[in-house]
């Protein structure tokens, strides 16, 4: 079985999960406060940031700090639970397919979901821009190229985090621990981005990237900037180690 068709199979399994509704709900709820408080963005000019940039950054900061990591935890729950209910995983394990490939296919689906969530948020962002521009009589539009470049960076920085959540979901069999640990690990990221060791904490990456972008766009705000040297090797190492362990552990508990 080719890897692509395996990804297709994993994708089909969650077709009827109604997860898209939840992701859509998240994207809608993300932008409602921004639309209601759009006027506050004009006050941010004192910090040297234009209202349209402020609107963009504030919305996606809220997403990067909690909503996005938490929905990724929910997706890992979805993937493990659909497999475990009715012992679906046992049927997968009798197939002549390597478990590492299965695990990687699941990871690819998780990554696809993360892209979908970002796309949904960008879609909602442009819808809310239309609303806000009409309501405030000011053009909040930002060129899509800029928006996609920033969001693409944020997404890329979140891959180690996805690998870590995959590791939690695969290796910790008790759902309350894997979910609880995943969600609890998101909370300290606010503190971690202000320390020197932020590059060792994958849950803080997307939030760090968007915060450093905020510092770039706002002339009067200083934020720590991305330095690739300790970060990139650490992030790559975390991703590889997490994926290797989860590929190794995948299906171990069922094969006892």
């Amino acid at each position: 079985m080719s890897f692509l068709s395996l990804v297709g199979v994993e994708w089909k399994k969650i077709r009827r999960s109604k997860i898209f509704l939840i992701l859509l709900l998240a994207a809608v709820i993300l932008w409602i406060p921004s639309i209601l408080n759009a006027g506050l963005n004009f006050g941010m000019q004192a910090e040297g940031i234009s209202p349209e940039n402020s609107f963009f950054i504030q919305g996606f900061m809220a997403m990067a700090w909690f909503l996005y990591p938490a929905s990724m935890v929910v997706i890992t729950v979805l993937q493990t639970q659909t497999e475990r209910s009715s012992h679906g995983i046992l049927k997968m394990l009798v197939l002549p397919v390597s478990t590492a490939k299965l695990c990687m296919a699941k990871f690819v689906v998780l990554a696809v979901f993360s892209v979908i969530q970002y796309l949904m948020s960008i879609g909602m962002y442009y819808i809310s821009i239309v609303i806000v521009s009409h309501a405030q009589n000011y053009n909040f539009f930002l060129p899509p190229l800029f928006v996609f470049r920033e969001i693409g960076r944020m997404w890329a920085s979140s891959i180690p985090m996805l690998a870590f959540f995959q590791l939690l979901a695969v290796c910790i069999q008790t759902p309350v621990f894997s979910v609880g640990f995943g969600l609890a690990s998101i909370v300290p990221s606010v503190l971690v981005i202000n320390t020197k060791v932020w590059f060792a904490y994958p849950m803080a990456y997307p939030f760090f990237v968007i915060t450093s972008e905020y510092g770039k766009l706002a002339a009067n705000i200083e934020t720590a900037q991305v330095r690739l040297v300790p970060w990139l090797p650490t992030a790559a190492l975390i991703t590889v180690v997490c994926l290797l362990i989860s590929c190794f552990c995948f299906g171990q508990a069922e094969r006892r």
Partner: protein, 240 residues
Amino acid sequence: MSFALEYKKVKRTGLLPAFLGGGIFAALVPVLNMAFRSEMYTRMNASPVSILLGANWQMMSMLNILLIVVGACIMYHIEYADNAIQKICTLPDRESTMFFGKTAVLITVSILLLVMESVSVFGCSVYWFGQSAELYMELLKNFWFFLLFMLPAVLLSLLTASLCRNMWISLGIGVVCVFAATMIPAQNFVLTLFPFALPFQMSGNLSDNVIRNYAIACAAETVLISLLEVLILKVRRWFE
């Protein structure tokens, strides 16, 4: 009876260790914060408890509410996962009894969380600010306040969990609700009445009058959500 039964059910789900672990994690928040930045806080001119809660309660309450959501999801997940709920429904007992049994268990473990956090705040106050007579009273007052403010969230997360057959749906709704709660401005009284936003409130910032209003609202929400659950369960039975 129902409480003991529900407790037995969750015994092997790891709910208690998860809450203990989460409680330790939340209790470490003020300790670490003080250990690294004690000078910044000891210079402030306010009561130790309000300084400590002001600096750390956002994170601690976030952990609490996430644990409550996960706990509620797990408690109903074990019923739905292997269709145990069908067997429960054939018993000569109301389905709502199970709901209230689960509520009692979740409240008990939440009390455990709050006790651990209060002990940590107490320890930090004594160590960094010195002992004082008002400390006990203030801490006790805050404890009851936080407990009361948690009740609607406990009930609402159990209500969503009881309605969703799949854990990721209830967890997803819970996560989105917690996120929405973090976006609600703390000064807006009506919006903060949203059950998931209540646990983020702190009594230190509020006047007695406002606290009384909150207490009434919490009690009303608790009763309303319970009634709603009983009603939903009854209606659902007709259509099954």
